[in-house]
Subunit: 328 residues, 2 copies
């Protein structure tokens, strides 16, 4: 049984509407008249979600950040986190992890409320879990199911940086200068989901999700959940200067960026009339949004490059159950 089969079976148990069919970034539980509780739990496993020699402080950062990214995608404000930590007896690692945890809690301004600590045998791969709880206004918790024909598709930030950072760490690319290299590795190790932007965008958008597995696969999930077709214009996928230095900006580089994952940017759809308001909102938050495609009636994902249709790559992004850190 692979993860996707197990998750299908779990869906049979998760029939409460708040579970959103286990197809959204987070559970959304109506708790009071004007308040929704947004709940997410993401795990990191050594060798799967981070490299064994990643600095422990960045592992703590990532553990918090990937969960904050789920809250950001639902426009939620963090209320607190609970951590499940498996100790394996490496003092130095664990102390450095705590330093990174302290920093992440401070930067994301979220309190550690509790959790559990257990001891694992030293040979076991580390596995870490974090639950994040957030609150959102009832009227503005975007789902993956709300994209509508005619919507435009947007992303926040730049795409592919984390994937290029991983490729650099694994020696799959070697062309970046020191500044670009540092920026890309930092994007991989210390993703920076923008909670404020998520909260401000939430009332303006139709569908919204975070890009954790790859722009294309996450877009295809929105298309499927919304029962619409989504088209992405690859030349519009925003790249950072560091990414362009390392990977270029030709079609193959854009495609790699769009399938890389670990971006923890926001992917959302909105009426085309909302475009200016979205750009202005991002600017107020110190970020950027870019229009990358549109929604139409139909099903599935399609791609173009400067106006010409191009076929979908075989692999759109991370699938549950794949070893992320093997070269695709």
């Amino acid at each position: 049984m692979i993860e996707s089969e197990f998750i299908s079976l779990l869906r049979g148990l998760a029939t409460h509407p708040a579970a959103r069919g286990l197809r959204d970034d987070a559970a959304v539980l109506n708790i009071a008249d004007s308040m929704q509780l947004v709940l997410t739990h993401d795990m990191l496993v050594e060798g799967v979600h981070y490299l064994p020699d990643d600095p422990p402080g960045t592992v703590a950062w990532k553990l918090v950040a990937v969960n904050m990214s789920d809250l950001a995608a639902k426009g939620a404000q963090p209320l607190g986190v609970l951590m499940g930590f498996a100790m394996t007896g490496d003092n130095e690692w664990e102390l450095a992890f705590l330093d990174g945890l302290r920093e992440a809690l401070a930067v994301f301004d979220v309190p550690l409320l509790g959790g559990d600590t257990v001891s694992m045998p030293a040979y076991a791969p580390r596995s870490l879990g974090l639950t994040a709880i957030g609150s959102a206004q009832s009227a503005s918790v975007p789902s993956r199911t709300a994209a509508r024909p005619g919507d435009r598709v947007f992303v926040s930030g730049t795409i592919g940086d984390a994937g290029a950072g991983l490729a650099l760490l694994q020696g799959r690319i070697t062309t970046a200068d020191e500044t670009a290299r540092a920026a890309l590795i930092d994007a991989y190790r210390r993703p920076r989901p923008d909670l404020q932007l998520g909260q401000k965008l939430a009332p303006l958008v139709h569908a919204m999700a975070d890009i954790s597995d790859g722009l294309l696969i996450d877009a295809s999930r929105i298309a499927e959940a919304s029962n619409c077709a989504i088209h992405i214009a690859l030349e519009a996928v925003p790249l950072s200067l560091a990414y362009e230095i390392a990977e270029g900006k030709a079609l193959d580089a854009r495609l790699r960026a769009a399938c890389a994952g670990d971006d923890y940017c926001l992917l959302f759809t909105a009426r085309s009339e909302a475009c200016q308001a979205l750009i202005q909102t991002a600017k107020e938050c110190g970020g950027t949004v870019a229009e990358v495609g549109q929604v139409s009636s139909g099903t599935g994902l399609s791609l173009s490059w400067n106006g010409g249709a191009i076929p979908l790559p075989e692999r759109l992004g991370h699938q549950h159950g794949e070893k992320r850190h093997q070269a695709p």
Copy 2:
């Protein structure tokens, strides 16, 4: 660094009042005028919190039950759970686990809202995490810190059954008949925290906690947190008939019961005048409560046996970081 040292360092990070200094069963977060959110995350590790050959359905049951026990101790009503599940590639085990999970969710009447699934190497010990979210009335969320001199100390249910069940599974005791053996093993594998009783007791008690690590160690934690002394009269510790068949009811058997842990019963203190109301409440819930001691000014835990003081055993119960399943 052992778990208790790590937890001490975490306390330095968990300074929000809702975290209750990481010294309570759960975090208690004020969320609306008359509503508290009760949040807990407990993990189970194979070979530490359950035996590798425990039936997988009972592991799922225990994963839900230990978290429900934390909610019960805070008088909370469950709103939902999120599960972190590490797959290790054993289909049969995982399917049987899901059957047990379905049953536990139904019996405790709590929805599965989300979580995460990851794949672990087959050699890794299984590790499972569950976050439970509950709600409680603001006025009645008991803490561990609220015991007062003059209070009586009570427990719900019977003590030591799970410990005797584990001892039977490990061959450390062999004297039980089949009926007693089955009952005790069931107590170990399928603890039954009483959520309804917890909710009804909450407004009547001062301090309340669940007994997960052992009656004596959990009582000593209430004493310490409340800055009081607690005295336990061992002859008053309620034993089941099955326990008496397996272990007897002499001093050594009562002491073993009081240090065994995994009871997932409630331990609480209340004014002596509340005694009748407590007994009546338990009766209405189909359960029992028994008075086992009293609170006085001072510090620490003391024990007696039919009126005579007896010394504390060296080990009061489970400590974080100890391998629970080695014979003490």
